[in-house]
């Protein structure tokens, strides 16, 4: 019957709902995954919050790669996921990014810049986006939150924050390091101890008819090779310890 399931899985691709910030990296990883396992996949990229809601209302996804750990937890508590399928597949790494700072500027970009607050500063919305929450923690850690609070441009998610800086509407802000790596842009990595870890967790949906393939994907992503790839794209090292 496992074979049957597999063959079924082959006819219907594995649907992976993924937080937009991880989509590019996932797509790179999936090339290997499909080559190795022959499992076809379908990537559905979006906002974690929306996907969370959709899963709660019957969205036909098999695996959900969230940008945070809170939503996977809630899904677990509400019994929407396969037991014990919640895993941390990546840890977010923050970076300070300035779109006005030339790569060849004499003075290198540094966190010292933060001590003199600019008129506008972009972060993701701390109330709804995990990267935003972490960015707020960084500013708090540096004792700058009060200063910055009124200057913030809050993006709906880290993707929008990056777009806002890149378009030069605002020139400075905290983004995800992977965005800079993927786009080959300079930035300053923010030490991980300035904020709570940004655990990006995945879950396998209980209603999935493709659980075997989903499990395979989970294993694949957590494998050392994949984790190394993930880190190479600007995510933080995962502690061997589980979430």
């Amino acid at each position: 019957s496992k074979a049957q399931q597999l063959s079924k899985g082959n006819s219907k691709p594995l649907r992976i709902a993924v937080a937009a910030n991880f989509t590019p990296v996932l797509k790179i990883l999936l090339k290997d995954f499909s080559k190795n396992t022959g499992i076809k996949t379908q990537v559905i990229s979006g906002a974690s919050g929306a996907m969370f809601l959709q899963i709660k209302h019957g969205a036909p996804y098999d695996v959900f790669l969230s940008a945070d750990s809170r939503r996977p937890k809630e899904l677990e508590q509400a019994d929407y996921i396969l037991k014990n399928s919640r895993k941390t597949y990546a840890r977010g790494q923050l970076a300070l990014y300035s779109s006005s700072h030339s790569m060849h500027a004499s003075e290198p970009l540094s966190l010292d810049l933060l001590s003199s607050p600019p008129a506008r500063f972009a972060i993701a919305n701390p109330d709804i986006a995990p990267y935003g929450k972490a960015a707020k923690e960084v500013l708090t850690h540096l004792g700058l939150w009060k200063n910055y609070q009124s200057r913030l441009i809050k993006g709906i998610n880290i993707g929008q924050t990056f777009a806002q800086i890149r378009s030069k509407g605002v020139t400075l802000g905290i983004v995800s390091n992977s965005q800079l790596v993927l786009n080959n842009l300079p930035g300053v990595i923010i030490p991980n101890n300035y904020h709570q870890p940004i655990k990006q967790q995945l879950v396998i949906i209980r209603a999935s008819k493709n659980k075997a393939a989903a499990k395979k994907l989970s294993q694949f992503l957590l494998s050392a090779k994949s984790q190394a790839t993930i880190v190479s794209y600007g995510y933080a090292q995962t502690n061997k310890a589980k979430s």
Partner: protein, 237 residues
């Protein structure tokens, strides 16, 4: 990859075309009714029809998602009738688009009907034309321009729709993944080159389509044109 955009294009066109047809079928009698009714309930119905305008699409999508899920009555009924889940299906995004774009079809039609006046309808009735006949032989040709406006507003708004469809459609390729979402994905995925390309194609395609529609709506006979030019010089400074 380009293939996936093509698929999104096809889904978009199917959805927008179907939505526009449904909108015209539902919207026309509704607009007629609103144009001709005078009871005080009129304002309430008008306000209800206009509501989708006021709610942010994602929020509307949120409520529609709840309604369409198998746990709630509309979704349940749908599942019982069709055997299929409503949420995350092509039907769902069509229904969502219809609700969302309804005011864009109803309001221009309603105003056109209100401005039409009675005298020609009376003349038609006295030549033996019943209400349906009058609608097709008098109302429709005289308000053709407003029908084209209504249809193109409805179509374009559906093509550009994003929040509602994303929420209730779930971005499933080949089924509910439409162009606007694909475009958004490209932006989100920092794939600006493709985003620009798609946006420009969308722009040019829509412009050609809209221009074709409006062109169809231009007067055709030369003397019409002459008269219209006359008009212009009198009425426009």
């Amino acid at each position: 990859m380009i293939n996936s955009d093509l698929q999104a294009l096809i889904t978009t066109l199917e959805m927008a075309a179907l939505t526009t047809v449904i909108l015209l079928i539902i919207g026309t009698p509704l607009a007629w009714y609103l144009a001709k009714m005078t009871s005080r309930f009129k304002v309430i119905i008008e306000a209800v029809v206009a509501l989708p305008l006021v709610l942010p699409p994602t929020v509307l999508g949120f409520y529609l998602l709840i309604a369409f899920s198998p746990e709630h009555l509309p979704g349940q009924l749908w599942q019982q009738t069709t055997g299929q889940q409503l949420a995350f299906s092509f039907s769902a995004i069509v229904i969502g688009s219809v609700l969302y774009s309804l005011p864009f079809v109803v309001q221009p039609l309603q105003k056109a009907f209100e401005q039409l006046g009675d005298s020609l309808l009376e003349a038609g009735a006295l030549l033996g034309a019943g209400p349906i006949d009058r609608f097709f032989s008098i109302v429709l040709p005289l308000t053709k321009a407003s029908f084209i406006t209504a249809a193109s507003l409805g179509f374009a708004h559906t093509v550009g729709e994003f929040g509602v469809i994303l929420m209730i459609g779930g971005n499933i390729p080949g089924e509910t993944r439409v162009l606007s979402i694909a475009l958004f994905d490209h932006v989100e995925a920092f794939d600006y080159a493709r985003a620009h390309l798609l946006a420009i194609s969308l722009l040019i395609g829509s412009m050609v389509l809209l221009a074709a529609i409006y062109w169809l709506n231009l007067p055709k006979r030369p003397q019409d044109k002459a008269r219209m030019e006359q008009k212009e010089s009198l009425t426009y400074e």
